[in-house]
Amino acid sequence: MRRALLAITGLAAGTTALVVLKGAPGTSQAAQDRPVAEAPVVPGGSAAPGPAPGGVTPSARPGASAKPSAKAGASRAPGTRTSATTRVTTRATTAAPRTTTSAPKVTTRTVTGPVVSYRYGSLQVRITLSGSRIVDATGLGMPLDGQSGLRSDDVQARYSGSSGEVVAKQSANLNTVSGATYTSTAYKQSLQAALDKA
């Protein structure tokens, strides 16, 4: 029994230690901020200094400005969400020099919609625009696991990306993904607000 108590204490201590170590702000913040911090440099130098940093920085950390629930959603966005962030920013950076050489007036920028809470969590949509054309879209802070995670994945797969429905339709008038009504609605809502802002 003594050993069992020891093991249980070990379990509690181990779990706490893992969570605390992982959540330690020192290492983590630096790692997450780096791609964000680097991002504004290139577009800022190439064409539009104003909107690009303003658009990218808050959107990369949706939790900071949003409600705690949104943050929780974002917190479970491990590799995939961070890579989404980097993917968008790098695409923006690689696209930027090319656009400056061919058509100097066209700028790439990102616009982020508001956080929309829905039944299974909360999300916000960020779109990347090249001029007035949407070239990419992605949902941020969506639940990553559980059934809501699966629904989010369905919605994400249908709507987001440079070949998703958002880019295809260039509007928030999307078909609802079956089995993911709440998530689809929230996505469209945030997307519409982002389009209004753009």
């Binding site: 969570v19 629930s69 590799g79 696991d145 059934q147």
Partner: protein, 471 residues
């Protein structure tokens, strides 16, 4: 050598005629040692597995994502979930009767580990459930109960997962010693068997909802492989190996002999008995295939070392099952599973040994005596002279293998036994106590008391080997 003021009657020089017409066994140079290396390797594998189970979470969680309470709760819930999943597999694996485990760990250690891991598993499951429900409820701004409802209705495989958790709670509660004593053995046993169901029912939700497991990839594949391995071990250890053993050896009861008013020896014969890889002190799980007993399986040690002609177990009649064994007829088929256990001469760390037996605990020690190098010592505690079993054989072995035997007769509170079972008393009987391996077999009380005395006398823990009656 007679010990004053005790009932210890000193070393007996029994009749020189060997028991049962068997010649005194030639002194083999000692059975090959199976040191603690295997055990250490197994425990290393266990810890590596635990790390491997939690590692996916560590790698997949972005640093800095755990800044608020909800994130912390769900993260902790996820870790405890992974740990619980892993421990459940370990639990079932330990009960798979896999030869590799039973030879390296031994029944005593396995059942102790099973109990400890079980308690930890139950706590991990409950923590996993509580943390995730609270975490999700906060995230989705639900009440706790509302969240449980949402989990049950909107999430795949969650109903079965909750049932699995319920089974584990029931099994865990009935395993608490106080509760278990009050339950009939059969009820406890059947409830315990339902934990295999928990393995099945808990399986689904890990893969349909688990943050680390639902995405195809090496992690998911690894978990599924672990599941398959455990199930394979279960089938192998519980079905295939025993089936092969029994088809090969076809054991039957040859004779039932009364050793004392409440102790019987059962002699078994069969085919190819000389091919069983058997060490003195090991036990089998026996199933006597007569109408009254076939569905009960009980572990009993062999009370004679392997001799290629017969096997013998010596059993004290304590309960209904053992009373029925008294009426076994010669020719009854026997289903045996084994041999298992690390309570053997091969697992000693020193050259010499001291054996301490209580009552019918003499059985495995008697078998082991034949394989220990000469110079061993045996202290035999018995309540009354009639409780001294296998008396003639012990005297014969004492002579043939130069073993000192002391019979310490009397109740626990008599001055003699009390004096002998103290650090000073033991040291006076066996001056080189600390340089010997000590093998203890008997009722729980005696074993505990003896361990305490031995530890106080300075015997290192790894030199003490236990076989308690309690399962």
């Amino acid at each position: 050598m007679t010990y004053q003021d005790t009932y210890a009657t000193g070393r007996r020089t029994g009749p020189s005629a060997p028991y049962g017409g068997r010649p005194a066994a030639p002194v083999p140079p000692g059975v090959p040692r199976r040191g603690p290396g295997g055990r250490r390797a197994l425990s290393a594998v266990f810890w590596l597995g635990l790390v491997a189970a939690v590692l996916p979470w560590w790698l997949a969680t972005p640093p800095g994502s755990l800044a608020d309470t909800t994130g912390l709760l769900t993260a902790a819930g996820r870790i405890t979930g992974l740990v619980a999943g892993y421990l459940l597999l370990v639990q079932v694996l330990m009960m798979s009767r896999l030869g590799a485990l039973e030879r390296r760990l031994g029944g005593e250690r396995i059942s102790r580990a099973h109990r400890d891991v079980g308690a930890t598993l139950l706590v991990a499951v409950l923590a996993h459930l509580a943390l995730l429900v609270v975490g999700y409820a906060r995230m989705e701004k639900n009440s706790i109960l509302g969240q449980v409802g949402a989990l049950l209705t909107h999430y795949e495989d969650m109903v079965s997962a909750f049932v699995a958790a319920g089974i584990m709670v029931a099994v865990g509660l009935t395993a608490v010693r106080g509760v278990r004593r009050r339950l009939p053995y059969e009820l406890w046993h059947h409830l315990h068997l339902t934990s295999y169901l928990a393995l099945l029912l808990g399986y689904g939700h890990q893969f349909s909802n688990g943050a680390q497991l639902y995405e195809p990839g090496p992690v998911r594949t690894g978990w599924i492989a672990a599941y398959l391995l455990v199930v394979a071990a279960l089938v192998w250890g519980r079905l295939i190996v025993p089936l092969r053993f029994n088809l090969r050896h076809r054991l039957r009861v040859a004779d039932v002999v009364a050793e004392s008013p409440d102790t019987i020896s059962i002699y078994l014969t069969g085919h190819r008995l000389n091919q069983i890889d058997l060490l003195g002190g090991q036990y089998f799980r026996w199933r006597f295939l007569n109408p009254g007993c076939w569905w009960q399986s009980h572990p009993f040690s062999l009370s004679a070392a392997g001799n290629g002609r017969w096997l013998r177990l010596t059993v004290k009649v304590v309960g209904g099952h053992t009373a029925e064994l008294r009426d076994l007829r010669p020719g009854t088929r026997v289903w045996a599973q084994g041999p298992s256990g690390t309570f053997t001469a091969a697992h000693r760390t020193r050259e010499r040994a001291l054996l301490i037996a209580g009552g019918s605990g003499i059985a495995p020690l008697r078998a082991m005596l034949e394989e220990l190098p000469p110079g061993a010592a045996l202290i035999y505690r018995a309540r009354t002279p009639a409780d001294v079993l296998l008396h003639n054989e012990l005297d014969w072995l004492a002579q043939a293998r130069h073993t000192s035997v002391w019979y310490v007769v009397g109740s626990r509170d008599d001055p003699g036994p009390r004096q002998v079972m103290s650090p000073e008393g033991l040291r006076r009987l066996v001056p080189d106590l600390t340089r010997r391996d000590v093998y203890l077999c008997g009722p729980g009380g005696l074993v505990e008391e003896a361990v305490r005395a031995l530890r106080r006398a300075g015997v290192p823990r790894r030199q003490i080997h236990l076989a308690t009656f309690e399962l």
